[in-house]
C-alpha cells in the first residue's frame, strides 16, 4: 500500500483529505506543519505528499525545498493543496519541485484527477 503524508495545519482539512485518500487506497500519515512533516520523511519517505502552503513554524514551500535536498527526497510526488490560487504561487511551487497543484476547495474528483496526473493512481481503462 502506498503512503501519503498530509501536511496541513487544519485538523478538519486533514480529516477530509484522509477520508478521500483512504478511499483511494492510501495509508495516510498526518503532519501539522513543515517541521513535523520533515520528521516523518526522515523516518521513511512517503510515496505522496499532499501539502498546504501557509502553516505556522514552517510553510509548505520551505518544507518542499528541504525535502528535495534530503537523501531520497526527490522520490515523493508532491501535490500542493492550498487556498493560494495565484499564478505566481503556482509557478513558484513548480519551480520549487512540486509535481501538481490543487487550489482549494477540493473534492474527491480533483484529488483523484491530480494523483492520476502524476502517476500515483492508474487511469481507468
Amino acid at each position: 500500500m502506498q503512503t501519503c503524508l498530509v501536511v496541513d495545519d487544519s485538523s478538519i482539512v486533514r480529516k477530509i483529505a484522509r477520508r478521500i485518500l483512504e478511499g483511494l487506497d492510501f495509508q495516510v500519515i498526518e503532519a501539522e506543519d513543515g517541521v513535523d512533516a520533515l520528521v516523518v520523511c526522515k523516518r521513511a519517505m512517503p510515496e505522496a505528499v499532499l501539502l498546504d502552503w501557509n502553516m505556522p513554524v514552517m510553510d509548505g514551500y520551505h518544507f518542499l525545498s528541504h525535502l528535495r535536498r534530503m537523501p531520497g527526497g526527490d522520490s515523493p510526488r508532491v501535490v500542493f493543496c492550498t487556498t493560494e490560487n495565484g499564478i505566481a504561487h503556482i509557478s513558484r511551487a513548480l519551480e520549487g519541485g512540486a509535481n501538481e497543484y490543487i487550489m482549494k476547495p477540493f473534492d474527491k474528483e480533483i484529488i483523484a484527477a491530480k494523483f492520476m496526473e502524476v502517476g500515483l493512481i492508474a487511469a481507468p481503462e
Binding site: 490560487n85 495565484g86 499564478i87 503556482i90 509557478s91 513548480l94 501538481e100 497543484y101 490543487i102 487550489m103 477540493f106 474528483e109 480533483i110 484527477a113 491530480k114 492520476m116 496526473e117 487511469a123 481503462e125
Partner: protein, 286 residues
C-alpha cells in the same frame, strides 16, 4: 409531471434533437427542467409543458438545450488524447507531409474543453507542425454552450479536472477567480452551431473526427445514419474517435476498429457499395 407531459417532452426531444429517452427517465427530466421552470417563473414541469404547447419557441429551445447539455472536462478520459498524440498525429504528419494541413472536427464540442485540449496537444507538438495549417471545428447543438466555448473562460473547479497544472500555467490567463484560455489557443478553434440530425456535409472532409459521448443518446437507426454520414466526411486514411462506452461494431461497417486502440476507428476501405460483392465471394470461397 403527468404521463402525458412526459410523452409530450419525449416526442418533442426526439424530433428536435434526436435524444431518445426511454420510458423511465422522469428523474432526468425533473433534474434538468425543474431549475429551468423555476428560472422562468413557472410552478413545475406541467406548467412548463403548457407554455411549450402555447408555442413559445424560446422556451422550447431552452428545454432542448437543458436536456442535451453534457458534462465535459479537459482531457476527458485521457486515453483518447494519448491516442491522438501517439497514434493519430504521427500518421497524419507522415501522410500530409506535402500538403501540411490538418482538419479536425469535434462533433460534440460542448463548452470547449475537448477542442481546446486538442489545440493544446497540437501546440505541444508545434516543432513537428511548423508551417502547417491547422483547423479545429467545434460544433454543438446549443448556442449557449458554444458561446461559453468561444469565450474559453472556466472556473477554478473546471480547470482542475483533467488539466495538468503545467498546461494551466502555460495556456491560461487568470481573470479574478476564473481562468481564460490564451488567445493563440482560442484562435485555433472555430465554432459552428450544428444539429447532428441535419445534413452536415457542408463542413467538408476531415482527417480526424472526435464524436464522443453524444451518439449514446440516439436510437439505433439514427446512430447508423450518423455513422454513415460521418464516414463520407472522413478522409480514407483519417480517424474517428468515439467515447469509451461507444462502438460502431454491430451497427455499421462504414468504420472499422483500429487494432489495440480502444475508441479509435478508421473508415473501412473495403466498404464502398461496389465492394459488397467480393466480400460475399470471399465468404463463399471458404
Amino acid at each position: 409531471m403527468t404521463p402525458l407531459d412526459y410523452e409530450y417532452l419525449r416526442k418533442l426531444l426526439k424530433e428536435r434533437s434526436g435524444l431518445d429517452l426511454s420510458a423511465d427517465k422522469q428523474y432526468l427530466i425533473e433534474s434538468r427542467l425543474l431549475p429551468l421552470s423555476r428560472k422562468a417563473g413557472l410552478s413545475g414541469i406541467s406548467d412548463l409543458v403548457q407554455k411549450m404547447k402555447g408555442g413559445s419557441s424560446a422556451i422550447i429551445d431552452q428545454v432542448v438545450e437543458a436536456m442535451t447539455t453534457n458534462e465535459t472536462f479537459f482531457f476527458r478520459d485521457k486515453v483518447p488524447f494519448d491516442h491522438f498524440r501517439d497514434s493519430i498525429m504521427p500518421e497524419i504528419i507522415k501522410a500530409r507531409a506535402a500538403r501540411k494541413s490538418i482538419r479536425i472536427w469535434c462533433a460534440a464540442g460542448s463548452t470547449g474543453q475537448e477542442p481546446y485540449s486538442l489545440a493544446m496537444c497540437l501546440k505541444e507538438m508545434s516543432a513537428a507542425l511548423s508551417g502547417w495549417r491547422i483547423e479545429i471545428i467545434a460544433t454543438d447543438l446549443s448556442q449557449e454552450v458554444l458561446e461559453k466555448s468561444k469565450a474559453g473562460i472556466y472556473s477554478q473547479f473546471e480547470v482542475q479536472r483533467g488539466l495538468p497544472i503545467q498546461m494551466l500555467v502555460k495556456y491560461f490567463k487568470q481573470i479574478g477567480e476564473m481562468w481564460q484560455v490564451n488567445p493563440d489557443i482560442r484562435a485555433m478553434v472555430q465554432h459552428r452551431q450544428l444539429n447532428l440530425l441535419n445534413d452536415f456535409s457542408q463542413l467538408g472532409t476531415f482527417d480526424v473526427i472526435f464524436c464522443r459521448n453524444v451518439l449514446i443518446y440516439f436510437d439505433q437507426d439514427t446512430k447508423v445514419g450518423i455513422f454513415n454520414r460521418l464516414a463520407k466526411m472522413t478522409e480514407p486514411d483519417g480517424f474517428l474517435v468515439l467515447g469509451a462506452a461507444e462502438t460502431v461494431v454491430g451497427l455499421t461497417d462504414a468504420f472499422k476498429p483500429f487494432p489495440d486502440r480502444r475508441g479509435l476507428y478508421r473508415p473501412n476501405a473495403a466498404r464502398a457499395p461496389a465492394v459488397a460483392a467480393p466480400k460475399v465471394a470471399v465468404m463463399a470461397g471458404r
